[in-house]
């Protein structure tokens, strides 16, 4: 990790209770995030990958305080967000922004692009006066590759890529330190994804932004992240710098994930052996004992069914939660 620590997540746990209530049903506890720890340095991009239900989005939502963690600490610029009062949180929230997967459902269909970007500028008292706000909106539109005339448009008049640019402009308006990017390109067409990824990288370089980049596309995550954490069933199973994780994965789940991605090259694919995992991700309602990955693991031993592997530093800077790593 480079530079000072901007965000540190310590032993984050988020459990959801289900069942009971009006319609009854079996009560249970979904262990969405089950003891996750990592930190992000200022100016760094940390990738968080995993399949649906692994807890990556819930982790992001806990950091944004959109979910109240069951336990654990979230230190942002040195302060524990879980202990802040509403007023203090309001001031911090400005510095902590989010870009969502689907820009269409996260934009107000009845507001123009300009009004949507200007609104938080007024609410947070960042830019006072209508004229100054208009200038700032124009400036933000230019930063994300849109034109001044886009300010007068409504979301439905924009393409998917343009809408995502508006979402990014709204996040930037708050002059954030950290942006949680939750699947920011997965709803976009292939030809547009690269535009948005390049934009996010340019903005990071220009404005010194820090990203938590949550995605399931391993190639995209490799491209944008400095370090990458792999999640499975509520836990981080491997964490390393980009090159180490992709060139020398230690956890059998990471290896299987990388092997499952088909490469756009027929000659290569004809020669390539895919390591196809058996079974499916078990329910987080009733996670397996021992290592949560053992029922699907191709190299599991007897002790994997009993002993929970700790995330340990196997090599300097390379963490894995596997007894056999």
């Amino acid at each position: 990790m480079k530079g000072e620590v901007l965000l540190e997540v310590r032993n984050l746990v988020k459990h959801f209770e289900i069942g009971g209530g009006l319609f009854g049903g079996r009560r249970g506890l979904v262990r969405a995030v089950d003891g996750v720890s990592f930190s992000i340095g200022r100016g760094e991009a940390l990738g968080l990958v995993g399949e649906s239900g692994c807890g990556k989005t819930t982790t992001g939502r806990c950091i944004l305080q959109l979910e109240l963690p069951t336990s654990g600490e979230i230190l942002f610029e040195g302060r524990d967000l879980t202990k802040l009062g509403p007023d203090e949180m309001r001031a911090v929230r400005r510095r902590l922004q989010v870009i969502f997967q689907d820009p269409y459902s996260s934009l107000n269909p009845r507001m123009t692009v300009g009004d949507m970007i200007a609104e938080p500028l007024g609410v947070h008292g960042l830019v006072r006066g209508a004229g100054a706000r208009r200038d700032r909106v124009r400036d933000l539109l230019r930063k994300v590759g849109l034109l001044p005339q886009h300010a007068a448009r409504y979301p439905h008049q924009l393409s998917g890529g343009q809408r995502q640019r508006v979402g990014i402009a709204r996040a930037l308006a708050m002059e954030p330190a950290l942006i949680v990017c939750d699947e920011p390109v997965s709803a976009l067409d292939v030809s547009i994804q690269a535009q948005i990824i390049n934009l996010l990288e340019d903005l990071q370089a220009d404005l010194g932004l820090t990203y938590l980049f949550i995605a399931h596309d391993l190639a995209v995550v490799r491209h944008i992240s400095d370090r990458v954490a792999v999640m499975y069933l509520g836990k981080i199973v491997e964490l390393a710098d980009r090159k180490t994780l992709y060139d020398d994965p230690l956890h059998p789940y990471t290896r299987a994930l990388l092997s499952a991605v088909p490469i756009p090259d027929p000659e290569l694919e004809a020669r390539r052996e895919h390591l196809v995992l058996r079974g499916e991700v078990p329910s987080p309602l009733d996670p397996p004992a021992g290592c949560v990955f053992h029922p699907r693991c191709p190299i599991a031993e007897d002790r994997c069914r009993r002993v929970v592997p700790e995330l340990r530093e196997v090599k300097p800077g390379h963490w894995a939660a596997c007894l056999l790593a």
């Binding site: 399949e51 067409d189 490799r222 088909p262 995992l277």
Partner: protein, 336 residues
């Protein structure tokens, strides 16, 4: 191998308030027996409407097939009456959709949904159909199939539902399966399972497959031939190897270059295709890709380029400048 499906100059239009949208605009392609053909393109390019047109499931009154022929085993499907068409659907041509949950009936058991087709199309008795349904579930790797038959779709995971869709599609032993983004809603490890399953089953049963997808990796692994669509037209076609090693349309080339690849060193910057996908109700004259094209010349905005031969093995491209692409620096095939 003989031609199984021959789509000739298909045109499917939608009437909207914004005007007529030519979702499929004079498209011709074919599938040989036991072959896997891919239809690749981005949202709105017309790939799904192409598949729906073959099944004659384009919803009227807005959507209409206004021209062309769909020759399946020599018969024009567009000339069949509804009764005859119903016998084709499911029995001879089956379809697998992206989101199985929306194409399954949530209030019917898995068993009932599977036996329905067997009873109507194949005239099987109920008990025989049930036994066959269990066999099919076992074939697609669903454990304990007899216990699964009385269950409902919501009791299945996403991957299991897609396995079930495959079992249903193959139930009547069709000669062609249309798979519309069959794994897009699935996680990557489950996607790998499902695709390997489809590949092995189609080989074993000799079923031809039309695979509709936007995922260039999936196409590379599973397709024999590829059709690339843009704005309602096929703009390039060839064997998968030709298309990937030697793309001869700027759009195909751009798509291949824009995706980050795990098998290559990380690039400092991605090469996107600039601009936005076209608005189909307001297409410019000439080639629809002109506004985004790095190779455009004056002629492109005036004259629509036809598909023409640009290489061996049926490699065709709808680009006036196709020859210039192979000489262009950093062509995809030359990168390694």
């Amino acid at each position: 191998m003989g031609t199984l499906l021959d789509v000739v100059d298909l045109q499917t239009h939608f009437v909207t308030r914004g005007g007529v949208v030519r979702a499929v605009d004079g498209v011709s392609w074919d599938v040989a027996e036991s072959e896997t053909v891919a239809l690749v393109g981005e949202s709105g390019c017309g790939k799904s409407v192409s598949a729906l047109s073959i099944m004659r499931l384009v919803a009227p009154p807005a959507g209409r097939i206004v021209g062309g022929r769909i020759l399946f085993k020599g018969r024009d499907l567009l000339a069949l009456d509804e009764e005859a068409m119903r016998r084709v659907r499911g029995r001879e041509i089956a379809m697998i959709f992206q989101e199985p949950m929306t194409s399954l009936n949530p209030v019917l058991t898995i068993g009932r949904q599977m036996t329905e087709g067997l009873e109507t199309h194949l005239g099987m008795a109920q008990t025989a159909a049930r036994a066959r349904a269990a066999e099919l579930l076992a074939m697609v790797g669903i454990p304990d199939p007899v216990r699964r038959l009385p269950q409902y779709p919501h009791q299945f995971s996403g991957g299991m539902r897609q396995r079930m869709m495959i079992a249903m599609a193959l139930a009547c032993e069709p000669s062609l399966v249309l798979a519309d983004e069959p794994t897009t809603a699935l996680d990557v490890t489950i996607q790998a399972q499902i695709l390997e399953l489809m590949k092995s089953l189609s080989r074993r049963l000799g079923v031809a497959m039309l695979m509709i997808t936007h995922n260039l990796g999936v196409v590379a692994r599973y397709a024999d031939r590829v059709n690339v669509m843009y704005a309602g037209k096929i703009i390039e076609r060839g064997t998968a190897r030709e298309i990937y090693a030697n793309p001869r349309h700027p759009y195909t080339r751009g798509l291949l270059r824009s995706v980050p690849r795990l098998d290559e060193p990380r690039r400092a910057r991605l090469d996107p295709i600039e601009g936005q996908p076209p608005d189909l109700s307001r297409l410019p004259g000439g080639c629809a890709f002109v506004p985004r094209c790095a190779f455009r010349v004056e002629r492109c905005a005036v004259e629509t380029p036809p598909l023409r031969a640009v290489g061996g093995a049926g490699h065709v491209s709808a680009c006036w400048e196709a020859e210039r692409l192979s000489a262009a620096p950093e062509a995809v095939g030359g990168r390694r």
